[in-house]
């Protein structure tokens, strides 16, 4: 380890691209060019057709080794990355590292070096610390790509891209859309990445709807309109994105009760009437029914929640093949 690793580095958004503009890592949506987001979605469109085949697999990443490096438990996200990697014919290694194990002496970098020595080509990283994926990307060998599968409250770019992909498949042009993101933006890496993606894609209006306690300071500077009132915020929107509310928010005195939250910000069919008639309802999952969303909305005709899940595989296949193919 040399001290050069301690110097100020490029911004997370700057180190994601090769000199020729192709994707090297995916750490955050922030700062990516619009053409690249479109390319990810176009490529994903082709991978959707792969899922219709008898053999749901292409030989693109044959011989490559992809490591799911999860410092934070998440069965769902890990499974979709694993499935995406396997459908690209890559070998997949799942490593779950309880945070306690790293505090017991082995540093994150030690862990990284050990796994790197197994000749891996890609790390899929989830970590409770904001900036973890960026940190790892700064320290991996030059041939290794890093995909951020969620770091603290910072970013979850593949989730945001699958959401954009789902919106595009339903609504087409972003420039005419009003999109509302409802709920715990403060703790949500998904919301931050969605906001960046929607703005890069020139969405007409991006709104966040939540009580002040669930909004981070200066959230408007991310490029959103803030609503504290649900009915006002939902008025005339084309897309409603509900965020998951963690139970801990009540304990940390950010909200009085799940009951009152549902009264004010829970998505019901009645509330949804404020939105456009053809508005779609999204949720990164897993949904807390009766807390942020009513069951009949989650299962209703305007819900695209299950599509999000299957689109998630195509998007991750697209991103994995784009970073691998661009390796230099």
């Amino acid at each position: 380890m040399t001290e050069q690793h301690l110097q100020a580095g490029p911004l997370p958004s700057g180190m994601q691209l090769h000199d020729d503009g192709r994707l090297r890592h995916l750490l955050t949506i922030e700062g990516l060019p619009r053409e690249l987001l479109v390319e990810i979605m176009d490529t994903a469109e082709s991978f959707v057709s792969v899922q219709a085949k008898t053999v749901k697999k292409v030989p693109l990443l044959r011989g490559k080794t992809i490591v799911n490096l999860f410092f934070e438990p998440s069965t769902r996200t890990r499974t979709t990355f694993e499935l995406a990697a396997k459908r690209l014919s890559a070998d997949v290694l799942n490593i779950n590292i309880a945070t306690s194990a790293t505090t017991k002496g082995e540093s994150l970098l030690d862990t990284l070096r050990n796994i790197e020595a197994m000749f891996c080509d890609m790390f899929i990283v989830r970590h409770a610390d904001s900036g973890a994926a960026h940190f790892i990307a700064r320290h991996v060998a030059p041939h290794v790509s890093v995909l951020n599968a969620g770091d603290g409250s910072h970013a979850h770019p593949t989730q945001a891209m699958l959401d954009m992909f789902t919106i595009r498949r339903h609504k087409g042009d972003f420039t005419r859309l009003k999109v509302a993101i409802v709920g715990d933006v403060l703790h949500s890496r998904v919301a931050r990445s969605q906001i960046h993606a929607l703005n890069i894609l020139n969405t007409a209006e991006v709104r966040v709807i939540a009580p002040r306690t669930l909004l981070p300071a200066d959230v408007e500077k991310l490029g959103v309109h803030v609503f504290n009132d649900m009915d006002e915020g939902l008025h005339d929107v084309d897309v409603v994105i509900m965020l998951r509310l963690q139970k801990e928010r009540m304990q940390s005195a950010l909200l009085p009760s799940a009951h009152e939250y549902f009264q004010l910000y829970g998505l019901t069919n009645e509330r949804l009437k404020a939105a456009r008639e053809d508005a779609i309802v999204m949720h990164p999952g897993p949904a807390n029914r009766g807390v942020e969303i009513a069951s009949d909305v989650a299962d209703g005709s305007r819900s695209v929640i299950l599509e999000q899940v299957s689109n998630g595989i195509a998007i991750r296949m697209a991103i994995m093949s784009m970073v691998t193919g661009a390796a230099q």
């Binding site: 001290e3 301690l6 490029p10 997370p12 904001s130 603290g152 910072h154 970013a155 300071a217 500077k221």
Partner: protein, 425 residues
Amino acid sequence: MKISIRNGHIIDPANDLDQVADLFIEDDKIVSIGTQPDGFSDDETIDASGHWILPGLVDLGARLREPGQEHKGSIASESRAAAASGITHIACLPDTDPVIDSPAEVDFVLQQAEEAGYCQISIIGALTLELEGRTLSEMAALRQAGCIGVGQFNIPCDYSVLRHSMEYAASQGLTVYLQPQDNSLLSNGCAHEGAIATRLGLPPIPEAAETASIGALLALIEQTGARSHLCRLSTARGVNMVRQARAEGLPVTADLSAHQAFLTEMDISDFNSLCHVLPPLRTERDRDGLRQGLFDGTLQVLCSDHQPHELDAKLAPFPSTEPGISGLETLLPLALRLSEEGVLSRSQAIARVTSGPAEVLGIDAGNLTIGTSADLCIFDPGHSWEFDTEAMLSAGTNSPFGGWSFNGQVLRTLLAGDTVYDIKL
């Protein structure tokens, strides 16, 4: 041993000196400035033409990491780095392991410092036993052992215990050192609550974590009348509160970490763990307010807030890194840069790192008064150089100032007439 330093430009804000003159040292004391004493024949003549003669710097806040954290630094390694940076006096904090809360630890530190021989070390002892905020430390014993003050810094302590310990310290004639930080508002935060922390998803620290605490501490200072020093301010609003309290006659002083006068929240945009500090780097508006406080004397001290770390402490994702900057070696360069940038006059800049802190600490240092200890540094203002973290002398190379260009370099440092640093050696 008699030394004459010839033709140096003597800058001593405490004595309002800013002129070229000869300076004469006999044994450990300055015996004359200007005219050579009768019968003075020197053993060494130093030609200081074109150079500045500054009082040895006084650093009001440095962690030397000994005892207990020798993997981060030692009294010997850190005081050597200090001497090379023109610092001849260091006030060190009690948050070592064990905590400096009894004469035994005081003796240990003073003895290590004397053995190292690079710097005069002053100790701020613990205000409460183990710094746990429950029982008063034996402050009279600490004072007799050599502590020049007592402090709780930013370690939690309820107001009732704080109030009584402040009263007790006052009755022992000890200044109380407190760092305003409301730990419930701090929560697990690691970055200023604002646009940058929001974008990076970092757990935020609101401005009120500092200002709410300043409000409470000022009330306690008023209640107890205890002479108190507020450490490491980070907000413009906090400076305003202290300014007003001082205007009302409260016995309170305050200081600023040198890095706070230059860095802002923008500097963590790339998750640079070297800029992970506590209190956090705040907005540009705050930085300007802090600079104003330095200018008008509300902040009469600029300190290093030196916190050397081993490499691993900073090699992790930002929130998991340890806060702090290895700051001894940039204290004087940053102070002088404030005058280059027109924030302070040259004399003010030097006062904030010499006579200012000496006055707070209540020690006779940071000046070139005739008859006092010959603690000074000879400085070449013409030499421009780039700060290189790999060339740092501190055991901790965790400085975000690598690559910064600075003007002027310490050539030689004298402590009580002895050369403790010489660039040529």
